[in-house]
Symmetry: C2
Subunit: 319 residues, 2 copies
């Protein structure tokens, strides 16, 4: 699916350029030497390159001042060559992440973390949606999982992941909204690609999302209550950062399980560190009708959705 989305974005980028527009350009600000952050940024750069989006990394030492970061974002905001800006989180403790996120111009804010983009998302208006939430949304849409009137549990309330997912899924599918605009964008963009004979019309599949009954659970939800809620759920989305938080006894037969967890655990057998999600995958896959693995599930789609945001920002379709 990630590859499919990337292919669509690549075609979108080519069409955009063939109409005489400048190639989209993503600037990534990376602070310090956190190995995970460096890995993520490298993946983003590679993926951008693969779809024809220019990118650059602005690397700063971990003692960089907040003022300097704000000066950099200001420069990038004003630079017409730069269409998308991203500050890789987390930032060192002496820098206020919220201030830096708000320092990026909302229309170049491809992570969707600016307060205006969050406000627009929460008010069901067009916005650049945080890529992880957008990835979950896209997975649900493209696999045809029904959300209308369904019970959804979102385990995890982070502002970048759990909260926007809960927002997207409970709101009105008919309303002007990120979901709505996504679909409108997808349809109009697809219609445009079809009209240019870039993609065949048979490649369009749209399922309206949203209108689910959403339960937001988190660290203070008692385990037995979480189980009661997940057993009622048609869709379980987990972004808690706790390996094996969701076990097979917690999942209703036929439910969809989307695992957003990223946990590095020590494997006693191999002695190596391995990446696992928040779901007991092998056990839960037997009950679930649909499940995303970690690694290889939400992660690659998230990177693709970041690139889609970069294209959206370049096309300035979010006013």
């Amino acid at each position: 699916m990630a590859r499919q989305i990337q292919k669509e974005i690549q075609r979108g980028v080519e069409s955009w350029i063939s109409l005489g527009n400048r190639r989209p350009h993503l600037s990534i600000i990376l602070v310090g030497d956190n190995p995970a952050s460096h890995t993520y940024v490298r993946k983003k750069i590679q993926a951008a390159s693969a779809v024809g989006i220019c990118s650059e990394i602005i690397l700063k030492p971990k003692d960089v001042s907040q003022e300097e970061l704000l000066y950099i974002t200001d420069q990038l905001n004003m630079d017409p060559r730069v269409t998308g800006i991203l500050v890789q989180l987390p930032l060192p403790g002496h820098v206020d992440e919220r201030t830096v996120c708000n320092g990026i111009s909302p229309e170049k804010d491809v992570d969707g973390f600016h307060i205006i983009n969050i406000g627009r998302l929460c008010l069901d208006q067009h916005s650049l949606i945080p890529a992880t939430a957008s990835a979950v949304w896209e997975i649900i849409k493209r696999t045809g999982i029904k959300t209308f009137g369904k019970n959804v549990v979102v385990a995890g309330r982070s502002k970048n992941v759990g909260m926007p997912i809960a927002m997207l899924l409970h709101t009105d599918g008919e309303h002007e909204r990120p979901g709505g605009s996504e679909i409108i964008w997808y349809l109009s963009f697809s219609a445009w690609l079809i009209s240019l004979s870039i993609i065949p019309s048979s490649s369009i599949h749209v399922v309206a999302n949203g209108d689910a009954t959403v339960t937001i659970a988190h660290r203070y939800t008692p385990r037995e209550q979480l189980k009661i809620h997940t057993q009622l759920a048609d869709i379980i989305i987990v972004a808690a950062g706790i390996p094996k938080l969701i076990t097979s006894d917690m999942v209703k037969e036929g439910a969809a399980v989307i695992d957003v967890g990223i946990n590095y655990v020590h494997d006693p057998v191999t002695g190596k560190t391995k990446l696992v999600g928040d779901v007991d995958f092998e056990a839960v896959r037997k009950a679930a009708s649909f499940i995303t693995p970690v690694p290889g599930g939400v992660g690659p789609v998230t990177v693709a959705m970041l690139l889609k945001n970069t294209l959206l920002a370049a096309r300035k379709v979010i006013d």
Copy 2:
């Protein structure tokens, strides 16, 4: 409780003025001749007057243009005499409510509907909170209803009521957030009043809120699913606009029920129109440990919280 809050605000206003500050001033823009809107505005003006807040109504005919409304808000934004601005909703169909709400300067936006205030609320930052959500929060806080790890159902997903209530109640009670800042504000403001011997220290009761598991239900939640969720709930908050949506069989013994509904129904016995909420009050009160009536429950506290926002805006405590 509304009277108690009003009394606190009145003392706050007096103290604020006694320190040499200008009296808070609320400007209300009222469009057209909707009788309910005129009634609400009258109540707000009366309550403002009772606590010593100046107010004015700017009355415009229902064919007023959006440009004129934005011109008026611009003038009020720049007027140092005006500390709070409110546009009574709903507006006529030819005016975009969102554009007008965003036309009010965020620090004078006592309704908390500006996109920056909504964004701040959703990001757990200090903000002016929409008065109805703030009223529900205050009722829970002052009656000592526990929210930590409890199950809450919010029935209704409106952007002015259901959504902000769900936001406040699921988030982290320890974090910088509207709840947290509320408590910090309340404590520091109370400490200040105590230090001035305006109120006795025995009048301070604080319960930290938030950290609840919150389920957002709405018109597309199937009735039997709503019942399953409400039966699990320790707190039920209803803002759906459907008389008798919540019946006694849906309520767990000992739950708290907060009714935000406002419905005008025809009474076949008296032949008159009467105001009712969304809860079958007489039946549900037997099961519930706590219940708010309509009229006389959330409504008066909402007006009080609007005045509190007006005082907060005048004191510019929200940066």
